[in-house]
Symmetry: C2
Subunit: 186 residues, 2 copies
Amino acid sequence: MRKLILFMNMSLDGYVAGPGGDIMAFHNGGDDFEAFSAEGSNQVDAILLGHTTYEMMKAYWPTPEAAASSPEIARFMNERPKYAVSHQPFEPGWQHVTVISGDDVIGDIRKLKTQPGQNIMIFGSNNLCASLVAAGVLDELQIMLNPFVFGGGTSLFEGLCNKMDFRLVNTQQFPSGNLLLSYVPK
Amino acid sequence: MRKLILFMNMSLDGYVAGPGGDIMAFHNGGDDFEAFSAEGSNQVDAILLGHTTYEMMKAYWPTPEAAASSPEIARFMNERPKYAVSHQPFEPGWQHVTVISGDDVIGDIRKLKTQPGQNIMIFGSNNLCASLVAAGVLDELQIMLNPFVFGGGTSLFEGLCNKMDFRLVNTQQFPSGNLLLSYVPK
């Protein structure tokens, strides 16, 4: 079965976005790429996104700036199948997108995992991930721990109500001081 | 000058205590000891604690249970000079304790750092640490990242209002899946 893998930037104080939703502070460039070439080791061929994250990605990855600064990621993001989760159906406005907006989003994502293909990666999409981790649908958590504290913001899996245990399976350190920590549910 | 080093347990979602102040979930036993034998490498000879943490430590470390289960740490905690920070003076009720409760706690701690001696370690004491890190008095941050999410609680340095950058200087992995991450302010 395909694995569902989350890639999430996080500050040292556990925030996936800073005050006012700030995500620009995360050290994204080279580090993300290296983590992402994870594409190889993770064998990812599809992308799952919450609606808010989808709109941010859609606004950036099809642009000439994205193609110039991160050509491989841009190609990946533009060309691979994308699944955007939303409370309401919407017009995706980007290529290779399926909108998931039914009554049983978790069930739809479970079905997606049983379809033929490689692994599925989620980027950010904290609200969606809180639901997925609570439902036991998330198979791996890749946290890019950035070396700063925000002092406030949106905590990882905010809204999750229960303690959940994970097993650390890998660590990778980047020159920036970012740490990529891989966990699986226990 | 003596360095002021924080040792803090933290969940994967950045909480130094879970809902209702839960700190029992942290994997403390063997891991803490190994990190603590840090005493060697960190050359620590004094302990600084916020009042709440002080009271918890005082309730445990002098007991026969503590002496039986963690004799080396118990000896260290009981015999080394301890500095307890409080808004109001109070009767310490434990040996080798100085209460710091004046108008200029940060200044008092700065002075402590200039006195002869080895390094000073703070355990927990999140409120105090938020003030110390904001004032630039904290020299090193040792985060014991536990492999679980709490889903809520008290975030690291809660109340700190500004983004602050750190430099990752060391990582150490324990068999439990705990990671000891050492950072210095940038």
